[in-house]
C-alpha cells in the first residue's frame, strides 16, 4: 500500500496545525503527521493514537466523509453494516490505509463526520456531525497542554481533538490504552496542565496513585461522560486546591450542553428553561433531561430527550444516571441509584461505587451496591476498618430506609471499559 500525498487541498490547514502533539512519548505537530489519501466515504479503524489523529487532520483539510473508530469497537456485524451503508472500511496503520470496499459504492457527503455512539444497551448508532458541530469551544482559551485519554472517534475524543486542531496554543498529549494506568507519569513529563476524563477515570487515578497525580501540574480538570457526584469533585479539589475543576454534560446526540465550573455537582435550578441564542436550552420532562442544542447531531434539531434522569436537590439539578437503570422500585418506593451512589461515594473510605436494583421477594427489588475501598491510610487505627455493616450504617444515617443498600460487595479494583466508563 503506497501512501500518497494529496495535491489538492480543499481547505486551508486548520488554525492549530502547529500545536504540539505527544503520542507514545514522541513529540510531533499536526503538520508533521503523515498525509495518506483516505477513501471517501471511509470508515477508518485507527490502529493507534497517531493514526486516529492523522485521519482527523486529513478530514479537516480535505473534508472527506469520515467515520473514525478502532478495530476493537467495530465488530463483524458493524463492519458489514458500514460496508452496506457504502463506506470503504479501512484499517489505518503505519503502512497506510488497508481498505475493504463496499459492494455498492456511493457518492460521499462532503464534510460529514460520523460518530458511533457507545450505547450501553443495544447496537451502537451512527450519529452525523461535521467538524463544526463537534467544535464547541470557540472562545480564546489560555494556552494549555491537554491530556487525551479517550478512545479515538468517541465524542469526548473529538472534543479534545477539535480544540487542538482549531485553536493555536492547545497542545495534546495522547495516551494509548496500554499507557492509561500510568498516565500521570507521562503527563508530568510532558507538562500536561489540563485533563479531561470520566469520573471513573479520575477515581481510578486517585485510587492507583494519588501522589503521582498530584505531581501533574494541572490547572484545568474536566469531568464528563458519566454522572458527576460531589465526592469526586471534592477529592480532586483536595489534590488541586487552585485549579479550575469543571464538569461537562455532552453527548453525540446533543453536543456539549452543560458546563459547570463552580466545583459543585449538578447545575443551578435557574438554568432550566432559559433561552439564550446560540446556547442549548435545558428542560426537564417526567424526570428526564431534555436538551435543545445548536450542537446537535444531524436530524436531531429541536428538543431531544436525553434518556438521562434528573433530580432536583437543594436548588441544584443533579443528573443521576440513565433513565432505564437509575430508577429502582423498592416495594413501590422509587429510589435513584445515582443518589445512593453519591452517598456511598461520600464515605471517606470509598473510592468507587456502583448501585443497582436486585430482584427480591415481597418488594420486587432491593438496592444493592458494589464498592472499591480507598487504599488503607497507615495513620488510621485498625478499628476504623470499613466493612459492609459500616457502609450500611453510613447510608442508613443519610437515606430513607428503602434506599439503603443492604448488600454491599467489595471489589478489589475499579472496573473500566474502553470508553473510560464503568456503567455505574
Amino acid at each position: 500500500m503506497t501512501v500518497a500525498t494529496s495535491r489538492h487541498l480543499t481547505h486551508p490547514e486548520p488554525a492549530g496545525v502547529d500545536n504540539r502533539l505527544v503520542v507514545g512519548g514522541t513529540a510531533l505537530t499536526w503538520r508533521s503527521l503523515p498525509t495518506p489519501t483516505l477513501p471517501d466515504p471511509a470508515a477508518v479503524l485507527a490502529h493507534g493514537a497517531v493514526h486516529a489523529l492523522t485521519a482527523a487532520r486529513q478530514h479537516a483539510v480535505h473534508g472527506t466523509e469520515l467515520l473514525l473508530s478502532t478495530a476493537s469497537r467495530v465488530d463483524a456485524a458493524m463492519r458489514t453494516e458500514l460496508l452496506e451503508a457504502g463506506f470503504t472500511v479501512s484499517v489505518l496503520d503505519d503502512d497506510g490505509a488497508h481498505p475493504s470496499v463496499p459492494a455498492q459504492p456511493r457518492a460521499a457527503e462532503p464534510g460529514r463526520l460520523w460518530l458511533l455512539t457507545s450505547g450501553s444497551t443495544g447496537r451502537p448508532k451512527r450519529v452525523g456531525h461535521t467538524l463544526d458541530t463537534l467544535t464547541t469551544v470557540r472562545a480564546d482559551q489560555p494556552d494549555r497542554t491537554w491530556l487525551c485519554p479517550y478512545a479515538p472517534g468517541t465524542y469526548a475524543w473529538w472534543q479534545v481533538v477539535t480544540l487542538s486542531l482549531t485553536q493555536p496554543g492547545q497542545h495534546l498529549v495522547v495516551v494509548e490504552p496500554d499507557e492509561l494506568d500510568d498516565w500521570p507519569t507521562v503527563a508530568a513529563a510532558h507538562g500536561v496542565d489540563a485533563a479531561s476524563g470520566t469520573p471513573t477515570f479520575w477515581r481510578r487515578t486517585l485510587y492507583r496513585d494519588a501522589d503521582a497525580l498530584a505531581r501533574v501540574p494541572l490547572r484545568q480538570l474536566t469531568l464528563g461522560g458519566e454522572p458527576v457526584d460531589q465526592a469526586i469533585l471534592d477529592q480532586l479539589r483536595e489534590v488541586f486546591p487552585t485549579a479550575r475543576i469543571s464538569w461537562i454534560y455532552a453527548s453525540s446526540e446533543v453536543g456539549a450542553s452543560i458546563v459547570v465550573h463552580d466545583g459543585r455537582a449538578g447545575f443551578p435550578l435557574a438554568w432550566l428553561d432559559r433561552e439564550t441564542p446560540g446556547r442549548p436550552t435545558l428542560s426537564v420532562r417526567d424526570d428526564e433531561l431534555v436538551v435543545t442544542s445548536p450542537y446537535h447531531g444531524a436530524g436531531l434539531a429541536g428538543p431531544v430527550r436525553t434518556g438521562d434522569r434528573v433530580q432536583v436537590l437543594d436548588g441544584r439539578v443533579l443528573i443521576t444516571g440513565r433513565l432505564d437503570s437509575d430508577e429502582i422500585n423498592v416495594g413501590g418506593s422509587k429510589v435513584s441509584a445515582g443518589v445512593v451512589r453519591g452517598v456511598l461515594a461520600g464515605h471517606p473510605a470509598v473510592a468507587w461505587a456502583r448501585v443497582t436494583g436486585r430482584r427480591a421477594p415481597v418488594l420486587g427489588h432491593m438496592v444493592v451496591a458494589e464498592v472499591v475501598l480507598a487504599p488503607a491510610d497507615a495513620s488510621e487505627p485498625a478499628s476504623a476498618v470499613t466493612d459492609e455493616a459500616a457502609l450500611v450504617r453510613w447510608c442508613a444515617d443519610r437515606l430513607p430506609e428503602h434506599a439503603v443498600p443492604r448488600r454491599i460487595r467489595v471489589l478489589t479494583d475499579i472496573p473500566v471499559k474502553e470508553t473510560l466508563k464503568s456503567d455505574v
Binding site: 421477594p361 443492604r406 448488600r407
Partner: protein, 83 residues
Amino acid sequence: MNELSRTQIRDLMAQVLKNQDKELPADDAAQLREIGFRSLDFSELALRVEDETGEELNFDAPGLRRIATVGDVLDFLVELQHQ
C-alpha cells in the same frame, strides 16, 4: 445443589437483625412484628441466602402465604430452595 439448612438460615437471620442492633429470639413462634423484622429485612435475608448458595431463589413459585413468625420465615426460605 448447594442448600442451606434451617439452622444456617437462622444464623443469617440473626445477622440481619444484629446489624440493626436487634436480637433474634430462640423461639420460632416469636412474632416478626415484635422483634422488628420487616419486609426490607426479609428481602435482605433472601438475598443473603442466594449469596451463600450461589443459586437464585424462584420468588414467584410459591403461592401467597402468611409470614408472621420467625418459624414462618425459616420454613418459607427452606422451601424456596427446593423450588
